[in-house]
Symmetry: C2
Subunit: 238 residues, 2 copies
């Protein structure tokens, strides 16, 4: 087991030097302890990790790749509550059941930890537990930011905010050889379900952004921001 891939990224409770940047919360010792409980799983893209309302015996941590957490509403509409990246945790249960379904967006490496064993470890190691508390708090704030993004009136504002989120959260797996090129690993339909708009609206809006010279798409799964100031303005505008 390569424990160095076991990471927990978040902005700490306390003030640190770099503002607004997620850092690695785990020490080498923490990672070794967790690695003792974890099973590493490699998954091809579009693999269902688990389905909502099934028995939650494990907690998952992402070593690499992207996972989406979603719910299928009674109407048949799908709602993506979050994209999860390297250093994120998922699978926290309610009443012993998963609340969302999760599926890999890209090829992914995921660590699976039995929930009972993790609970024991957290009870024995309050310092490690505090880091998990920090991580969950971080994800709570991310969820709140997502809500703010979805409640934006204009489609352009939602898309702009979404691209900035990808730049912030997804840059750990971005292509290093092409600076300022951001990976967009999900489909347009995924983006639509995440932002609460139709896939057509996503497509129309990105096309307009391209025509206005604000961004460009080298290929379907990468975007380059040409005019950050204008994108920023769109994101800020209500």
């Amino acid at each position: 087991m390569n424990a160095s891939a076991l990471s927990l990224r978040a902005i700490p409770f306390d003030a640190v030097s770099a503002v607004g940047v997620a850092t690695q919360l785990l020490t080498e010792r923490h990672r070794e302890n967790l690695a003792g409980l974890a099973t590493s799983m490699h998954m091809p893209r579009r693999t269902i990790v688990y389905r909502e309302e099934t028995l939650a015996r494990w907690i998952f941590m992402i070593a690499d790749g992207v996972v989406k957490s979603y719910r299928d509403l009674p109407s048949g509409k799908r709602c993506i509550v979050g994209f999860l990246f390297r250093g994120d945790v998922f699978g926290l249960a309610e009443n012993g059941q998963f609340v969302n379904s999760t599926q890999t967006v890209t090829r992914a490496t995921v660590y699976r930890i039995p929930v009972d064993a993790l609970k024991d470890l957290l009870r024995r190691d309050p310092d490690l537990q505090l880091r998990f508390l920090c991580k969950v708090t971080h994800q709570l704030r991310e969820a709140q930011r997502h809500t703010i993004g979805v409640s934006r009136r204009t489609t352009a504002g939602k898309i702009a905010l979404f691209l900035k989120m990808l730049e912030r959260d997804g840059h750990w797996h971005a292509d290093r050889s092409a600076p300022r090129s951001i990976a967009v690993p999900m489909t347009r339909a995924d983006i639509a379900d995440y932002l609460g708009i139709s896939a057509e609206a996503v497509s129309r809006c990105t096309s307009r952004l391209v025509r206005r010279g604000i961004v460009e798409f080298p290929d379907r799964y990468h975007v380059r921001i040409l005019n950050p100031a204008e994108l920023e303005r769109l994101a800020a505008a209500m």
Copy 2:
């Protein structure tokens, strides 16, 4: 200090008998330990508890009343990320600063706990900390549900979901003498900012619900659900 008012309500990780119902997470011992650190504060309605980006030295727990957590966007628009009720925690920091502003919606009793002292306590008492972890996880799920609500297309669906949330979360302070009458302590503008719609849309929609005989408003701050099935249908319909 009346420690019995110190509560932490959430749905536990593990399976329990009553599904979907938040329960008290703290034992008497936990409450006493917390009470030793906490200062009780009584606040009139519309009191700012703290402002975003200020130094976060305390964590807050609600003994009674309703608090809103919000952010003012650059455009001047206000976005309410959540309403907080009895048994909720707020003030979890990022980089030593509060991320949102909070204000009381009703008269409220709030416990203020120094963050350093709480951290020490949580380090000494891993079992208590696990309960806080459960609580934050619960609030994360609430935030996700909120996102799903906001991404609903129709105003009627959003309002219906909002009323069901009030019925679920707010019933601890509902008027016992008028069964099935749900307290709506916030203004229409608050509801609008929470749901990401205009105050006019809230007003128009509630009027229509009244005309259709689905709900009635005995007064401005209470609602009675006359046709739960129809409301449910509206909430489910996309």
